[in-house]
């Protein structure tokens, strides 16, 4: 272990901006992407669900 304190860890030997900029961007995008995909998935599911209800209502009306 080469860090003597938490502060030193965050300073990254003077390269904080570059190192945290890289890791931060990776973390941000790699968290955002699955969330966006999940949102897309749930949107489809919701609209499918709406459709099914509409179908059922149609059937009820007919009968």
């Amino acid at each position: 272990m080469q860090w003597n304190s938490v502060g030193e860890f965050f300073v990254m030997g003077g390269y904080a901006f570059y190192v945290w900029g890289s890791f931060g961007a990776c973390l941000l995008l790699m968290v955002a992407e699955p969330l966006l995909v999940r949102h897309r998935l749930s949107e489809v599911r919701k609209s499918l669900f709406r459709e099914r209800i509409a179908d059922e209502l149609d059937l009820q009306q007919k009968s």
Partner: protein, 246 residues
């Protein structure tokens, strides 16, 4: 033999693939998390400070995996696209479409982390080096693929057109890589040379490998999630989809 392979792909219908993907996703997420935690531990707490680059070199632990994945995903995408074109299987096109954004993301990360690395090491955000340039072009190829698919609204046509583009691109990637390499090294040596990775400590290598595995698992998981969404969107009027969703 050939016949049976074709049969196998026919079986890989969206209907059977959808639940299968659903069952696999958690496992890939778990693997990504395990590899990621281990990799991060190695890269921040075990790997020693580099003699030349100080702590700045730690960017390598995300930069290299992102670069590798960006190139690898393109190959996989082109493979699926070609398969779809040749055998007319529906899932293949969807897989290709699902992979593209993740590939583009990896290319973008590679460019971003590379730029953040270049500034302290070379003193410039960007130089016109062979590797950098071909990665940039790869990024453009991804964007072109996605833009083309988005611009065609009949999914079957979009798949086929995208497949042709992906295949043309895959022929071109080696050509691009070598042309840029040549271009760069042939005449007056460029002012800055990408110094080969410093003699890598064993721990660094392990850290990089673990992170690469993490990125790999992540890519598979996200692509599978996206392909599920695409399946539902495209097959929304079939009976099985209506029953698949509660």
């Amino acid at each position: 033999m050939r016949q049976s392979i074709i049969q196998w792909f026919r079986f890989a219908s969206p209907q059977s693939f959808y639940p299968l993907a659903g069952r696999m996703i958690p496992w890939f997420w778990a693997a990504a998390a395990v590899f990621g935690i281990a990799g991060l531990w190695l890269s921040f707490f075990v790997a020693p400070t580099d003699a030349q680059q100080g702590e700045g070199y730690r960017i390598i632990f995300v930069h290299v995996p992102a670069s590798w994945m960006s190139m690898f995903i393109y190959l996989v995408m082109a493979f699926w696209a070609g398969l779809g074109l040749a055998l007319n299987t529906r899932v293949s096109g969807m897989m290709a479409q699902a992979l593209a954004p993740t590939g583009a993301l990896m290319a973008a990360l590679s460019l971003w982390t590379g730029a953040l690395w270049g500034k302290p090491m070379w003193g410039a955000w960007w130089v016109w080096d062979a590797r950098l340039t071909s990665e940039l072009i790869l990024f453009f190829l991804y964007l072109g693929f996605m833009a083309l698919q988005a611009a065609i609204d009949d999914p079957r046509r979009a798949d086929k057109a995208g497949a042709i583009l992906a295949l043309v691109g895959v022929i071109n990637i080696p050509i691009i890589y070598f042309s840029v390499k040549w271009w760069n090294t042939l005449h007056q040596g460029s002012t800055i040379n990408m110094n080969k990775a410093p003699s890598m400590a064993q721990t660094m290598l392990w850290g990089m490998l673990l992170m690469a595995l993490c990125f790999w698992m992540y890519s598979i998981a996200v692509a599978l999630m996206r392909v599920r969404a695409i399946i539902l969107e495209r097959e929304r009027h079939t009976e099985w989809v209506k029953h698949a969703v509660e």
